[in-house]
Amino acid sequence: MSGRDISETLQQQVHNAVGNGTPLKIQGGNSKTFLGRETHGEILDVSAHSGIVEHDPRELVLTARSGTPLKEVEAALADAGQMLAFEPPHFGDTATLAGTIACGLSGPRRPFCGSARDFVLGCKLINGKGEILRFGGQVIKNVAGYDVSRLMVGAYGTLGVLLEISLKVLPRPAASHTLMQECTQTEAISKMSRLLSQSVPVDAACYHAGHYYLRLSGGEQAVKHAHEHLGGEVIEKSEPFWHSLREHHLPFFNSANPLYRIIVKPSLPPLDIAGEWLLDWGGAQRWLVSDEPIGLIRERVAKLGGHVTQFRGGELNTEIFQPLPAPLLVIHQRLKSSFDPHAIFNRGRIYANL
């Protein structure tokens, strides 16, 4: 298909970096630099390594090079009546496929349809020794070897330079309706939690500014029946709402205070932390805009079995992601050096000592 393969150039750059002991900062569309800790190094630009390598709609699989714009991937899928079922946020026009996968980002569909890592089938990467390696494949079932491809999801490029990614893709639902109801946060949590044990064609549920939003997707009849059963006011042309939720374009996200991403069990009652709340993922992913100290937020959430990411803004001299217990950190450090023995990739992007 289209695009350009510059894997040899990238490989040479990695070899040079290893030779000179120069740390590298891997960059695609530069749309997610705000995420995670600051990392220093020579920029390894993968954006030119681009293009869809293979997409056979009947196989439900798409393979593309790392720098392929996410928009291009989504357009090709839409032409075939398909989609990335984890509805990834772009956070900018230049977002690439590999950046999305490396950050492991998933949108509103996530609790009902799966996350970015759930759809990764295989990858090609350059490890820290400059070797080009392939893991997984282009088939849905494959248990040969450790699942290194999924390990790359959410690793923020600290384990290797992604070159190619194969994803399972799904047909777009024939119909989609959004329903809205006015209610309290407690009522919304209870409604969203009940969705998990009901056979309903729901693919998104959130609570924002006193309103509970539910998106039903599937066959025409299925959506119509579910709507009758669940009730609520229909929102016509709801696509912009879900889009601005996913992309953080809602006014809620435009605050001077830091934005925290809080992951908890969906049924958990409203948390007693001062600030503005927006609940996505059926209550499992809660966004908080608050000027409370991060230490206090982390302590409260950890007690409830959840974890906190300082997503935008906030203190610079703190851990952005929830710190790991010591024995797990040891495994992380050993894994890091198994892929990147000279520690050249995205140093400190997730944790200071990783």
Partner: protein, 496 residues
């Protein structure tokens, strides 16, 4: 004092010391050393590989598992963990100088949380028992390997087990949230969380399907799903296997993701019918079973559509199960295909390759050609929705040379799967069985990376050593053997 069955020298002093210390850690009935007691643990579901372990231990607490691991680590004794022993690739094959750690006593369902649709289980809980316990809340656990009556959740995680509903509901990796594991060094780790994601690397994915090489699983939290309002199964008969293959592609191209989409060829149909009396059309060359689930309205919509597609694809007959009993019966035939084939042949060898679906006609044609060439019949059972092929090669181990011919035939099938862009194993794992085929699927760089990943968890290399990932030396030897067996193209030509 048990002896090493395959005659490997064991260090008598270390062994005495080990057994003495194990008996201090565990109650007497939890340490087995008599040959008769060890016998049930000599193999898993792939019984062509058998070996007695030095000792079997049956702990029942985290602390006991940790203590056993610390002891073995200190004495440098290898450990093989085992669930129900239903694995099909020899992954739980014991080591004659090692400890076989059975998780059989960990069989309690610890907690079902209907509000958050999850269940916390000890690793020895049977797969089917999870759905049975969750049924009271209208929930179930989706992955359903054919051995679900017997296989346990710990083993399912170790193998990343699938089942007939993978296309829509995923494999084990898509349906678990959290694990508690004990490393070879005796450290208890929590991997993942009771939430949709957790900080750090995705160790949950790495652990799933790691075949007992990275850590011992001592607790599993799974995701439960709402039972669909309705499930309906269609059975379509075809007079040509390739038309059935086309129909599979056409259903998916129509934007429908069936809950299950299974194909069987004539040999498998007849064997299953004789065994299960499922009402399968005995004269068909192939049948497709297509299950659609969801809300009532959704299923009605899809049944009509799929029926039309099947007819347009040239099905000679399309039936819809008229009752839940008939639906179960249609599935019974499919789920009992392996034992059914076991009745018509003294032995069978089950393969587990995956291929891109479009390659099905090519691969089936080639398997049929080889079947004639080797004089060994093949029954094909195919998870058509996700490209997972289970050719069952029928043979008689008592006939001289037939096992060797069968294995060679099987190797060629797996090699073909890799050549057409697939994999040597879709759900049964590598274990001992496919360790040589790993040399075909991966190059030295990837294999070295796998060894490095293992070393991150188990630096001493004492957990299930010798399985799942071959050494580079083994691959070099296998490569040489390959040429010897004439499996390379133009093997008659001289090579330098």
């Amino acid at each position: 004092m048990p002896s090493s069955e395959d005659g490997l020298p064991c260090n008598r002093n270390t062994n005495e010391d080990l057994l003495h210390k194990l008996r201090k850690l565990l109650p007497p009935e939890a340490v087995l050393t008599d040959k008769e007691d060890l016998r049930p643990f000599e193999c898993d579901g792939l019984s062509v590989y058998r070996r007695l372990p030095l000792v079997v231990v049956l702990p029942e607490t985290f602390e006991q598992v940790q203590a056993i691991m610390r002891l073995c680590h200190a004495l440098q004794v290898p450990v093989v963990a085992r669930g129900a022993g239903t694995g099909l690739s020899g992954g739980a094959l014991p080591l004659s100088d090692g400890v076989l750690l059975s998780l059989a006593k960990f069989k309690r369902i610890l907690h079902i949380d209907p509000e958050n649709a999850m269940a916390t289980l000890q690793p020895g809980v049977r797969n089917l028992a999870i759905s049975e316990a969750a049924a009271a809340y209208g929930l179930y656990y989706a992955p359903d390997p054919s051995s679900q009556i017997a296989c346990t959740i710990g083993g399912n995680v170790a193998e990343n087990s699938g089942g007939v509903h993978c296309l829509k509901y995923g494999l084990t990796v898509h349906n678990i949230l959290m694990l508690k594991v004990v490393t070879m060094e005796g450290e208890l780790l929590t991997i993942g969380a009771e939430t949709l994601d957790s900080p750090g690397y995705d160790l949950l994915a790495l652990m799933t399907g790691s075949e007992g090489m990275l850590a011992v699983i001592v607790e599993v939290t799974v995701k439960l799903l709402a039972k669909p309002e309705r499930a309906q199964v269609l059975l379509a008969a075809f007079d040509d296997v390739f038309k059935a293959g086309e129909a599979v592609g056409a259903i998916i191209a129509a934007g429908i993701i069936p809950a299950g989409l299974e194909m069987m060829d004539k040999v498998a149909i007849q064997a299953a019918e004789d065994f299960a009396h499922a009402g399968y059309p005995r004269n068909a060359e192939a049948i497709l079973l297509c299950e659609l689930d969801g809300t009532n309205a959704e299923v009605s919509e899809h049944v009509l559509e799929v029926r039309k597609i099947l007819q347009q694809s040239g099905a000679t007959e399309v039936r819809t199960a008229i009752s839940e009993a008939e639906r179960q019966l249609f599935w019974k035939g499919r789920k009992s295909a392996f034992p059914a084939v076991g009745r018509i042949s003294p032995d069978y060898y089950c393969m587990d390759g995956t291929i891109p679906r479009r390659q099905l006609p090519h691969v089936l044609r080639q398997i049929n050609l080889w079947s004639e060439e080797y004089g060994l019949p093949v029954a094909n059972v195919f998870h058509a929705g996700d490209g997972n092929l289970h050719p069952l090669i029928l043979f008689d181990a008592n006939k001289e040379g037939e096992l060797a011919r069968t294995e060679e035939f099987g190797q060629r099938i797996l090699q073909l799967c890799v050549e057409v862009g697939g994999s040597i194993t879709g759900e049964h794992g590598v274990g001992m069985e496919k360790i040589n085929q790993m040399c075909i699927q991966f190059k030295a760089g990837e294999l070295s990376q796998f060894h490095a990943v293992k070393a991150a968890f188990d630096p001493a290399g004492l957990l299930n050593p010798g399985k799942a990932v071959p050494t580079l030396q083994r691959c070099a030897e296998f490569g040489a053997m390959h040429v010897h067996h004439g499996q390379l193209p133009h093997a008659e030509l001289e090579r330098f």
